[in-house]
Every structure is written in structure tokens, then in C-alpha cells.
Amino acid sequence: MDFGEVTEAVMYERYITAASTYAHSIDHLFLLIAALVGFWLIVAEVVLFALVFKFREKEGQSTRYITGEEKELHRWITIPHMLVILCDIVIIVPAILVWYNIKQAQPPADRTVRVYAQQWAWSFQEPGPDGKLDTDDDVRTVGELHVTVNTTYHFELMSRDVVHSFAIPSFRLKQDALPGRTITGWFRPNRVGTYDIQCTQMCGLGHALMAGRVIVETQQDHAAWLMRNSNPSLAAQPAAPAPAPESTTMAEVRR
């Protein structure tokens, strides 16, 4: 089911980039639903207006006495009924498939990052050049998540206070962050660029300031960024009890 260029032209992808591998599958599902329910909407509206025009009150017009319980009229209800059920099934199956691929089946991770939500900032913990979390070369950032293009990421999402929601519209990614739990999800960016991270769950006074950015880079750029911001000599060593020499890239979280 690839609508390719058509999708680009007619759908909301004009307004919002599709920058992850599953973005298109959500957009295609949207298009499928739009076609089906659009058809029903137009049919219902046309019938409604046509009946109103056709049966306007006229001189000497008498109404027909129809109870709607006559046998021969049943098909006027059963046929649309069956069609609605059919459309429901045609929507339910791909909806669940899309959901399953995004939220249930997690492809193996190339890298894993941690995402912390708090009032009112996003902070991230990314493995350093050793590729492992919780070692001394981890890179911790606030407001900016740096990822490599065409790499499957798992994220471990946590909240430090209230319910937040980690949303990257360009990835079609959304997941609430709950205090007291770690929720794992995944994404695979496939387009280099800088995209917004939103909080989409009301989280208090600074809800509108809780912006972040995800920066999708090429392999080389990302490696260079990691080298600049991590301490490679500490790679692969277990985290010391002493405060880790962490480097923080301060993004403009609250301008």
C-alpha cells in the first residue's frame, strides 16, 4: 500500500514531515480511513439534503404513513448495517496492524537512550562511543536529543514528577511518561534534520515551554558530536560512585 507522491500532495504531510520509518504507515492508515468515512459522510449528507429538498411541504401534499417496521423496509436498514460493519472491519484490521508494529512489536535496538520528563524540560541520557548505557562516557543533554539516521532506537521513558507525554510529530511518535514506571518504545529516524519534541499532556504552568528538539544526524556527524561531548577514555568502565564527568549540552529549554 504505497501512495507515494499522492500522499505527499494530498495529505497532511504537506504540513508535517515524515521522518521515521513508521510515519508513512500511520499516514496511509489515515488516508484509508479518510476515504472510507469520507464516502459515508458524503452519502449521508447528500441523502439528508436530498430528502429535505424533495419532501418540502407543498400544497395538497400528504405524507406517507411508514412505521419502519414493515418487512420489505428492513433491507434499507440491514444493507447499510452490513456495509458499516464491513467498513469497521476494513478499518480495524489495518489499525491494529499499524498499532502492533509501532507499540507492541519492538525491533531489536541498535542503540538505547533514556528520556526523562520533568516540569518543564526534557533531558536525555545517551550511551557514549562504547554504545552502552550507564557507563561513565554517557552523554547527558537537556532539551536536545541527538540520534543517527537509519538506526533503530529504543527509548526508556520516565517522568520525575507528573504525567507528561513524549511526542515527536515528525516521527508520529507519542507516548505518555508516567512517574514510577519506565515505558519502553522505539523509533527509527530515516531523514536527517531537526524536529520538534512536544509535551502533549497538560503538565502545569510551563506546559507550553516544555519544548525539545531531536536532531537526526548522519553517522559521521553523530560520531563527531559524541566525541566532542563524551569522555572516551572512560568508555566501558562501570559508573564510578564519584560524580561522573558528564557533559551537558544546554539547549534553550526555557527562553
Binding site: I26, I33, T63, E69, V84, M202
Partner: protein, 563 residues
């Protein structure tokens, strides 16, 4: 007036102000009080919408009549708009006002089964409204944690910064629920026990059925939320930890309790609205409702299914992802009975003789607009697309396409239809039609752009998109501004309605008992009905929608006419 009433016990002198307005147990007086309170709250809710739409359309400008909208004020205004419009406008007007006014009149009895409980219900409701409005005045301001009040944000003043407002909000909602539980018991008991002789179950007008089903759904779903609200109150004020993970609680518990009530609540207000529309369509198309029994069974189906769809509000909330599959299926299943209802309404028009008076315009407007609300729900009920659309303006536009038809359009339909009965005068038709078009067209101008901004990723409850590069593009801002202008036009047309409403009370053409030539019992009594309603309690001989029966001189056959 009272001398015409032959009931012993209703024959008392004109009471004083206190007895008449504060202690009257007459269902019509209580209904009017609910109606006027609801309309006053609707004006406040509309003003709040004006405030935050102005901030959206013209960011960081001075809003005339309010001032600058700071983030804290924005959160307050958004939270209160949602709370007021659902709990203090839709519920009291659709269920309490129309239910109180019409149930005794349409089933042919003199008053509700428990008139004093009815009075108590309104007193508590008024108190709840005062508590809610009072929360604007306390230190820290009104609650600003969204009308869904998710903890831990709502549970701790340190997080929401409105500790007093949050508690008052919760108290107001709890009080309001007490009021409607009292009312709900009353409604159900009255309809089951006080029907006129001869009125069998399938002779009850569909509106009354729908109000009863709505109150049954409400009473069955409110319990968990009240329990949840008590726990939240304890968390706020007594430092318990029901929703605090550090102390073994779980924030998701609230979400389940809230939405277990919150989704049936949608149908609690939808059903009376659909009932009003059904009555009006039958009268103005001069047609028997197409498939009365199918309509009733579909309504039951909607009511039962509404209890098993709540988690579609929580697809991405951190529940087990496998749950989403179950709730996607149940959510889309509910499209079947709802679609059936709409088909039956449309089918009723076939073969009719349709008069487009103002009430009929509103009823048809309800169908045309509610269809849009219904089909856009499919995008959100499908788990796959909900990942992206959840909590965006697409969702806002969707539920306003359901709630505006429910709480605004059908209410106008009901008011314009029963106004002659309520006040004994006709409303002005020309003003009514201007008001109709001036409301329905701008309504679409408000929300069609919001579908588009939602598809472009605008998240809700954001006072300014300045921090979000993708959302700050001028194209999206144009859409937001268009929407705001739509709202300004729509609000200004409401002045015509307010004028028409009050002007017609004194200056409208006098209404006869049955100006629309309708069959149901409320039209057999004088307009307005006297205390005690029926001079002689009616006997019912047939169903409520006998229009256009072949071989009769009149094209309608009232329920109480022996032949």
C-alpha cells in the same frame, strides 16, 4: 391560574418570592431554574472560549475584557471552559432542564415522583456552580490542570500551583454529581411509575426513553469517578498516596476511573440531544419515527457499549499496548448503533411533508454536523492513527463537532420548539433563522481549520507555539486566526438569540396549546401549563408519533384522543 386547576392540594394562593423561587417543588419552576443557570454558565463558558481563542488567534495581545493571557491564566481558562461546558451546561440543560420540564408533561402526570428531592437537587447544583465560580477568586486562581485532572499534577499544589483551586474544583464536581444522582433517581422512578393510564413502554416518547437511559448510564458510571474523586481529595488534603507512585499508588488508576465515567458521559449528554431531535423531526416532517423499536434497541446498544470503550482515551497513556486492540474493536463497534440511529432519523424524512421552521432547522443542523463529528471519531478510535492524533487539535475539532451539536444546536432546537409551551408565546421566526445561520456557518469556520492544525501537529492546551518551530509557521497561524474570527462571529450572533428569547417573552405572538400540531401529551395542556399540569389526568390510547395516518381528517392523532 390556580382556580382552573381542579386538583385538591394544588389549590393554594400565589406564593411569596421565597416560596415561589427558592422552595417551589413544581417541576416546571425547577426546570426553568436549571435552564437559566445553565444558560448563564454557557455565557461564562463562551467568554472563556473567547479568551483562549483570542490568545490563539492573536498571540500575546491584550484581550479586550480580560487582559493579557499568561500561561497560568491560559491553563485556568481552558480547564474551566471544559469543565463548565460539560458539567454545568450540557448536563443541567439537556438532562435536568428538559428532563424536569418534559418528563411529567410528556408522560401525563402532575409532577415528579419526589418533588422535594427534585428541589434539593437544584439547590445542591446551584451550590456546586457557586463553588466552581468562587474558585476563580481564591489565592492561586482556579484549577488549571485540564478538565481531566490527571494526578499527580492535580493531586499536589506543588505541581499545579493552584492548591485551593484544585480542591474547590473537585468539591464542585462532587457536589454536582450528588445533584444529578438525586435528579437521576427521580427521573427514572417518575417515568417507571407515574405514566398516564394506558401509556405502555413502547408508547413513551423517544426523548423520555433517551433521558431515562442517559440517567441510568450516568448513575451506573458515576460511582467509580466519585470514589476516585474522594481518593484524589484525600491525596490533595490529607497527604495520602492513592495516585502517588512513591507511596505505592498509581496515577493510571485515576485515568481509568475518570474515563470509565468520562466516556459514558458523552452518551449521557448525546442521548437527550438525539431525543430532542427525534421529537422535532417527527413533528416537522409530519411522519411517524422510522422504526421506533429499532431506535430504542440501538439506544440500549449505545448505552451498553459505552461502558466498554473508555480506554480509547488512554491508548498512549502507558497502559498495556495489547489493551488497545480490544478497545479499538469495541470503539468501532459503537459506530454500528450510532450509525443506525442516524440512518433511522434520515429515513424518517422520507415521504414526509417537511416544514423548515426554526426548530426543524436546528434539528437538521444537528444531523448534518453530528455526522462530521461521528465520522472523525473513527480516526481517533483506531489505535494506529490515534498515536499521532491523540491530544492534538484534530481531537479538539472532533469532539466539538459532537459536543456543539449536542450542547448548543440541540439545545437551541429544544428551546425554540418548546418555547411556546414554556412561556406561552411564539419566538420570532425571522430572528430565529438569522440566529441559526449565524451560528452554524461560523461553527464550521471555527473547527474545520482546527482539524487542519491538528493534522499538522498542533498539540492542545498550549498557550503559545513560540517554542515549537514546526508549529510556529505562518500558515498554521493563519488557520488559528481564521478559527478565532469564526468564534467571534458565532458569539456575536448569540446576542440575537438572547434578544429574541427575552423580547418574545413579552411581545411574541400568543401561543395556543398546540402550535406545532403535535401528538404528545405536553401539547394538550394550556401554554404555559398551570401548576399541576393537567386539569384532568389524561388517558393514553396510542404511541406518540401517529402522523399522516390514512383515512383521518387531521394529519395527526394525539396520544390522548379516544378516537
Amino acid at each position: 391560574m390556580s382556580e382552573q386547576v381542579q386538583h385538591a392540594g394544588h389549590d393554594h394562593p400565589e406564593p411569596g418570592f421565597f416560596l415561589k423561587y427558592c422552595w417551589s417543588t413544581d417541576h416546571k419552576m425547577i426546570a426553568m431554574q436549571y435552564l437559566f443557570t445553565g444558560m448563564a454558565m454557557a455565557m461564562i463558558g463562551g467568554f472563556l472560549a473567547y479568551v483562549f481563542r483570542m490568545q490563539q488567534g492573536f498571540p500575546n495581545h491584550y484581550v479586550p475584557g480580560f487582559g493579557l493571557v499568561t500561561p497560568g491564566r491560559y491553563n485556568e481558562v481552558v480547564t474551566m471552559h471544559g469543565t463548565i461546558m460539560i458539567f454545568w451546561v450540557a448536563m443541567p440543560v439537556l438532562i435536568a432542564a428538559f428532563g424536569n420540564y418534559l418528563i411529567p408533561l410528556m408522560i401525563g402526570c402532575d409532577d415528579m415522583a419526589f418533588p422535594r428531592i427534585n428541589r434539593l437537587s437544584y439547590q445542591i447544583f446551584l451550590l456546586s456552580a457557586i463553588v466552581l465560580l468562587g474558585s476563580f477568586l481564591v489565592k492561586g486562581g482556579a484549577f488549571g490542570g485540564a478538565w481531566t485532572a490527571y494526578p499527580p499534577l492535580s493531586a499536589s499544589g506543588a505541581y499545579n500551583l493552584t492548591p485551593i483551586g484544585a480542591t474547590l474544583w473537585l468539591l464542585a464536581v462532587a457536589l454536582e454529581f450528588v445533584a444529578f444522582l438525586l435528579g437521576g433517581i427521580n427521573f427514572t422512578v417518575t417515568v417507571m411509575n407515574s405514566r398516564a393510564p394506558g401509556m405502555k413502554m413502547f408508547d413513551i416518547p423517544i426523548l423520555i426513553w433517551m433521558i431515562v437511559l442517559a440517567t441510568v448510564i450516568f448513575m451506573a458510571s458515576a460511582g467509580p469517578l466519585i470514589a476516585g474523586a474522594v481518593m484524589l481529595l484525600f491525596d490533595q488534603t490529607m497527604a495520602t498516596g492513592f495516585y502517588d507512585p512513591v507511596r505505592g499508588g498509581d496515577p493510571l488508576l485515576w485515568q481509568h476511573l475518570f474515563w470509565f465515567f468520562g466516556h459514558p458521559e458523552v452518551y449521557v449528554v448525546l442521548l437527550p440531544a438525539m431525543g430532542i431531535v427525534a421529537e422535532i423531526i417527527a413533528v416537522f416532517a409530519r411522519k411517524k419515527l422510522f422504526g421506533y423499536k429499532s431506535m430504542l434497541y440501538s439506544t440500549w446498544g449505545v448505552g451498553i457499549l459505552s461502558f466498554v470503550v473508555w480506554a480509547h482515551h488512554q491508548f498512549v497513556a502507558g497502559i498495556d499496548p495489547r489493551m488497545a486492540n480490544v478497545f479499538t474493536v469495541t470503539t468501532l463497534l459503537i459506530s454500528i448503533p450510532v450509525a443506525e440511529l442516524v440512518f433511522l432519523y434520515i429515513a424518517t424524512l422520507y415521504g414526509g411533508s417537511i416544514r423548515l421552521d426554526t426548530p426543524m432547522l436546528w434539528a437538521l443542523g444537528f444531523l448534518a454536523e453530528f455526522l462530521i463529528g461521528g465520522v472523525t471519531g473513527i480516526f481517533l478510535g483506531s489505535s494506529g492513527t490515534d498515536i499521532y492524533l491523540h491530544d492534538t487539535y484534530f481531537l479538539i475539532a472532533h469532539f466539538h463537532y459532537t459536543f456543539v451539536p449536542i450542547a448548543i444546536i440541540s439545545v437551541f432546537a429544544g428551546i425554540t420548539f418548546w418555547y411556546p409551551k414554556m412561556f406561552g408565546r411564539m419566538m420570532n421566526e425571522t430572528l430565529g433563522k438569522i440566529h441559526f445561520w449565524g451560528t452554524v456557518i461560523p461553527f464550521n469556520v471555527i473547527f474545520i481549520p482546527l482539524f487542519m492544525t491538528g493534522m499538522a501537529g498542533d498539540q492542545r492546551r498550549i498557550y503559545s507555539y513560540a517554542q515549537f518551530a514546526e508549529q510556529s509557521r505562518p500558515a498554521l497561524q493563519h488557520l488559528r486566526t481564521t478559527s478565532t474570527i469564526g468564534l467571534l462571529v458565532m458569539l456575536s450572533f448569540q446576542l440575537i438569540f438572547i434578544f429574541n428569547f427575552f423580547w418574545s417573552m413579552r411581545n411574541g405572538k400568543r401561543a395556543e396549546a398546540n402550535p406545532w400540531r403535535s401528538t404528545t401529551l405536553e401539547w394538550t395542556v394550556p401554554s404555559p401549563p398551570p401548576h399541576g399540569n393537567f386539569a384532568e389526568l389524561p388517558t393514553v390510547y396510542r404511541g406518540p408519533y401517529e402522523y399522516g395516518l390514512p383515512g383521518r381528517a387531521d394529519d395527526y392523532w394525539p396520544q390522548n384522543a379516544p378516537n
